[in-house]
């Protein structure tokens, strides 16, 4: 809530004592902070991709000409086609990263894996495995 408009009770003193969230610009990058920020970014990207996927399926059924047109447009514009493929590659990476780091989060929610060395190892493992799975999938096509 906006602090200025908050006149309820005597919360002013409380607000002063409350710890402030770390500011990204002055925060030393660590495995823990990088994996956390990446989890949010990939989450937003996955949501947008899922919305596009759903409307692509919708077009496939109701407006097949539109998809055909996009396909022809991409085959005629190789640079845009490459950009399109990179966004798909990023979505694949996001899917695997969010999946693996999500499992890591679920273990934390169960109260497991909080030890700092374990957090560091699982974080690095997630970063490496997500790249590996993305490459395997794209190599399999």
């Amino acid at each position: 809530m906006d602090q200025k408009s908050d006149t309820s009770l005597s919360t002013h003193a409380l607000h002063k004592k409350r710890p402030l969230s770390p500011h990204i610009s002055i925060y030393k990058p660590q495995i823990t902070s990088i994996t956390s920020i990446l989890h949010r970014l990939t989450g937003i990207y996955l949501y947008l991709g899922l919305v596009i996927l759903a409307w692509t399926i919708f077009s496939l059924v109701y407006f097949p000409n539109v998809l055909e047109g996009i396909g022809i447009f991409l085959s005629n514009h190789p640079i845009i086609d490459i950009i399109f493929k990179i966004t798909l590659l990023m979505w694949t990476y996001s899917l695997f990263y969010h999946q693996l780091n999500g499992i890591r989060h679920l273990f934390w929610d169960a109260g497991k894996g909080f030890d700092l060395t374990v957090v560091d190892i699982t974080g690095k493992l997630v970063l490496i495995l997500s790249v590996l799975l993305t490459l395997i999938c794209w190599a399999a096509i």
Partner: protein, 135 residues
Amino acid sequence: MIDENDLSSPMSHVKGSGPSGTGTSTWWAQRVSAVALVPLVIWFAYFVLKAVKLKDMNELMSIFISPFPTMLLAVFIVIGLYHGNLGIKEVIEDYIHCHKLKFILIIFINFLSFLTAIAAICALLVFHLSTFSFN
């Protein structure tokens, strides 16, 4: 009884369900959908790898004649949108401090998720049904 080191507001002690007013229900819904998505994402990756190898619409229809890919894809999209909606809402609440904009964005996201889910279900159902007349 006032604990000097307690950082929560007195109102939160009275209501007992935090500033959202709904307690931990959103948190719990996000975890449950996350657990459901773990196997669904594995299936989806397998499905896409299979689907990109298809040559034409007829082959795609021969897959969607079975109810399972149709249902699983619908479930994946709907639960994914639901999970994503909760996540995006959390991001908006964290970073958008303007009250009006926050209000508008959250309603917009809810609307977008809902409409997208309906569109996906309708399209998948129609596609599945169209395969019957195809064979």
